[in-house]
Symmetry: C2
Subunit: 282 residues, 2 copies
């Protein structure tokens, strides 16, 4: 990591958001961060990163993140959070974790679970490798227009967006649009990529239904899965460069749609792939 990158990481809002205070019983206390505020509660990608961070900071952890599934069970209220991290099983090359994010009810004081996650960490090995999903040919980040987030939802201001194709509709006219988005994205200010920020990046894409319908209907992610394909060395080499992202969808039905995402580095190496199922209102 260059000195410039290290300096930029210092005091970064993403690190402040990830701050976990270890408790005597092995759990952690965290607090929602105003910089990652969404319409209601925090940005889902930030919550996903926080639950992963509970595993990353756990003293018994084996290896690096391989998969993460986050279930957004209920709204996260602005305020303190309690993170309970449990190792389910440790094998030779994989380790299985369950994480629960709990908050106290303002009136009864009783704790209830607002988000759950399962995490698998793993030891990667030098074996046969092949990438089948080639990155699309796109112009470099500096040639792509920067999406103006100055008046956008707070969490959007935590990212630098350079949309290549499939941006938000310029008019909300109920017309039918393509579902695919391609963009360059990174933390703002720039921050060296790590597993937690990669997890958060998997959730940055605008809800596919907004593009398909050109109508900003209320939505909420129900379940998000991330598969990490990069190891720590690849992330370290990436530094604070832009990530190339592509998002797609397969079906909207019965009030739920799916959304997939692929994240590559500028050299076309896959960093992560992700899937989510999302509630939509109408």
């Amino acid at each position: 990591m260059s000195e410039m990158t290290a300096a930029a990481t210092d005091g970064h809002p993403f690190d402040a958001m990830l701050h976990l205070q270890p408790q005597a019983d092995g759990s952690f206390v965290a607090h929602t961060h105003a910089g990652y505020a969404n319409m209601v509660g925090p940005y889902g990608g930030a919550t996903a990163a926080l639950l992963l961070q509970g595993v990353l900071q756990h003293p018994d952890r084996l290896g690096e993140p391989l998969s993460l599934t986050v279930n957004f069970a209920g709204p996260v209220q602005d305020g303190p959070m309690h993170l309970v991290v449990r190792v389910v099983r440790t094998n030779r090359t994989t380790q299985h974790w369950l994480v629960e994010l709990r908050q106290s009810d303002a009136t009864t004081g009783q704790e209830h679970t607002v988000t759950t996650a399962s995490v698998v960490t793993a030891l990667r090995r030098s074996v046969f490798e092949q990438q089948l999903a080639a990155a699309p040919q796109v112009p470099p980040p500096q040639d792509c227009p920067e999406f103006d987030v100055s008046r956008a939802m707070t969490w959007l201001q935590r990212y630098e967006w350079r949309v290549i194709s499939g941006g938000l509709p310029t008019t909300w006219d109920d017309s039918c649009h393509l579902v695919q988005t391609r963009l360059w994205v990174r933390d703002r200010p720039a921050r060296a990529l790590d597993f937690a920020s990669l997890a958060a990046l998997c959730d940055v894409f605008f809800p596919r239904i907004w593009l398909v319908r050109a109508r900003p209907v209320p939505i909420g992610t129900v379940s998000l899965t991330v598969y990490f394909h990069a190891d720590a060395a690849q992330l370290a080499a990436h530094g604070s460069a832009h990530v190339l992202g592509q998002a797609d969808g397969q079906v909207l039905r019965g009030g739920f749609f799916d959304q997939s995402a692929q994240l590559w580095d500028a050299q076309g190496q896959l960093l992560a792939t992700s899937h989510q199922i999302v509630y939509y209102k109408e």
Copy 2:
């Protein structure tokens, strides 16, 4: 459901495999089924279906399955299993569940968790709908050669396979092949499709690495996610017809590869989409 279908379901090995004995504390006892045996322990798709069944049979369940993530934490031994099903949160349209499959250690008698799952059930609503992923144009099942499973692993004999493209290599010669498979598949004997059998079908595809490398290296699914797009009415209308499946992969790296699957009915309606991350040895 026609009477013929109902009769065919009666005493089906899949139903026997799914048999759950309710316990006084709300948990269930199950037993591995010899008919779904894999190389070591049961077929992963059968285990996924069993964990989902624990939620389907729970008296407090709201709605139908929307998403299922199964983490294969450790080997499932042939014998009795203990299924602990917990409702984490009930909302107006979604409900979140955690399921643990436990087995007792033969020597110490101590119970340990061998598989975990998170499940979301949901009330589907009549809202805007659009399918974006069209089913491929393929010949009907009766025109596709049936894959001979008479000498195959036991669980493979529980399915009728009609491979369209991307079957197993005919020679294991380390050559490089395409990663995509298309096939028609259904339970054998035929059985009316339901959420549990749909979950199991998501895992039937041969490991992508066997096709890519034309080498049958040892593999094991680490985590599997299923998104259900069909509702109960669509499944009932489907009956015991063949399901059209397509499997793909994006990357093999560091000892783990990803695999995706899409399942359509003969009319081209998406029934489910699925993703998994799989360990490979070399």
